[in-house]
Symmetry: C2
Subunit: 348 residues, 2 copies
């Protein structure tokens, strides 16, 4: 009776009390119907349900969480949705949530720590039950820490040193080592590592694997071959000439860098796999399709995201938020860009 105006107006949204009045019961009964309690008689349940749809009732979750009910929202804070790898990861998280009756909300921080702070704060303010976080590059664990207390947090893919939170990440070091071993096996002596900047956890791990493989093979670790560059196609293009001068092969920080590099090479008449060996990391969809097809260390972002979500949901169910570390396996997928079917170029 208090709701039902058809055109837009100031008509307040129907509340549980309106529904109760409309159905001729108390608000407690309506609350029981909402929570699916078996206490309420079948006839009452249908009558109340009817009233709810008659009035266009919408549950007010703010009021509910206020009273102490648990929220079913998982926040996903992703650093860069324009990188297909992170999109895959987000989709993996979403898929896993569907099974567990959680609703994931995504926010894109665009690698901006300030925005990341805003976004996490918002998610907490709105009562998210847990967080899957892929931290922006220059994040400060100190700033984040107070925002993340008393809620389960899983860091996916990237890890932030000072943060006491679970980690779900690929075996970066192992994967990088395998990739460099492969290049060494093809006869390369001067192998570069391209992309990213110091203090990025993923880069450090991959770089460690790179160094390990060199060391195993008795090759020197030459800092001049470790080349920093922004994680985007033009960043890669910018260091292409330098690479050609200094080395015959490169392990790239990730596929975005590798693909940027292959394209920059192509524009200069250099063909990856024939004139220069390129290996990527992540194995995004495009790696399979680019010419020449990109050899890459496969991570399976979807599975990674799914594991993170499962861990989060398990922690929420048990109430035990003690940090756990999960390492997800990586495998080298050999295609064309590493020149596996050829010998490395003779020109030094």
């Amino acid at each position: 009776m208090s709701a039902g105006v058809d055109e837009r107006g100031t008509e307040a949204r129907a509340t549980i009390v309106d529904v109760a009045r409309h159905a001729g019961v108390s608000k407690s009964t309506v609350s029981l119907v909402l929570s699916g309690s078996s206490l309420v008689a079948e006839s009452t349940r249908t009558r109340v349900s009817q009233s709810m749809s008659d009035l266009g009732y919408i549950y007010h979750r703010g009021a509910a969480t206020l009273r102490g009910a648990k929220s079913r929202v998982l926040g996903m804070v992703i650093n860069d949705l324009s990188n297909p790898f992170f999109v895959e990861m987000a989709i993996g998280i979403e898929e896993a949530c569907q099974g567990g009756a959680f609703i994931p909300f995504i926010a894109n921080t665009v690698e901006n720590p300030v925005r990341q702070l805003q976004v996490i704060r918002s998610m907490r303010e709105y009562g998210a039950a847990g967080l899957a976080l892929s931290p922006a590059i220059a994040s400060s664990a100190l700033e984040l820490k107070p925002l993340l207390s008393d809620m389960p947090v899983v860091q996916v893919m990237r890890r932030l040193p000072g943060l006491r939170a679970s980690i779900v990440a690929p075996e970066n070091r192992f994967g990088a080592r395998k990739a460099v071993q492969h290049l060494i096996g093809l006869g390369h002596k001067r192998i570069a590592f391209v992309g990213g900047f110091p203090a990025m956890s993923v880069r450090e791990e991959r770089l460690a694997g790179y160094a390990e493989a060199l060391d195993e093979a008795g090759l020197p670790y030459d800092p001049a071959l470790v080349i920093e560059a922004p994680i985007n196609p033009s960043g890669a293009a910018g260091v292409a000439p330098q690479l050609l001068r200094s080395s015959t092969a490169a392990l790239c920080f990730n596929d975005v860098v590798a693909i940027g590099l292959i394209r920059a090479f192509a524009a200069a008449g250099v063909e990856a796999g024939r004139d220069f060996a390129v290996v990527g990391f992540d194995d995004i969809d495009e790696a399979r399709h680019i010419f020449p097809a990109l050899t890459s260390v496969a991570v399976n972002g979807r599975a990674l995201g799914a594991r993170a979500a499962q861990l989060l949901m398990r922690q929420l169910a048990s109430g035990d938020f003690a940090p756990e570390n999960i390492l997800s396996p990586t495998t080298l997928v050999v295609r064309v860009s590493c020149g596996a079917s050829r010998q490395p170029g003779v020109s030094s």
Copy 2:
């Protein structure tokens, strides 16, 4: 005094009252500080702020909206984040929100109407102020309608017939017409339209432009040349043989279909632009990079998203939710895949 336990515990989150007590003021004053009111003395403001960070206070937006405050959350309901075009659109919305002090939350419906319903319901329950909606394919306006009353809703890209909500969309018909005119200008007589299914609004519009251009040129509209297919690479691959038999050129529903087609052709030894003319729609980033480079009707998803967000924020500011329609221009970007530099093949 009630907060401050370091390890995880049952310690309740600090409330505005705790802060007030800690700072030696009333909760009303703290509330004023939170809202940035100029009423409160500078010295008091700093003292209260200090108490807030001392106690690790987190604003409880649920309680606030309960009392009647406006929410600053915009919901983005996106049908398919694995399509780069929609990712671009989402990023456009996000960018626009940053200027307007709104926080966008993304949800991915994976083209699943049931999930879409859940997601929209959740967003309403959590008090989203407005919605940017790119409806899933088989959405029902009837089911959606009651969920969307009394809140500004903008349909981006796609439109759902029965829905009374604003629309921000590209000039699909015009763009498709230009594309087909271009193909006709190159001498093609048998031009197919590939991808999507009936009842998809975007397809209907693009198909209308296709038909218009044929009609203008006096070419017959042959239903056998309008080929349905799922909007993904393998869907396109499935109809490639049929296309080769029936036509010499194709306008694809979008770039995802076009790229799938080009790859399927390549696998069969058919080169787009030389043996068969392919034109896409949307002009996603990959269109520029695939071989041969894809001729496509550019939409600029980022700008489209930005316009949608701006419209939404304007409506929220004014309180006037009357539906508006915004058409965003499209332009044909000619590259290689349409064979602009060659004549169409002589083989019928």
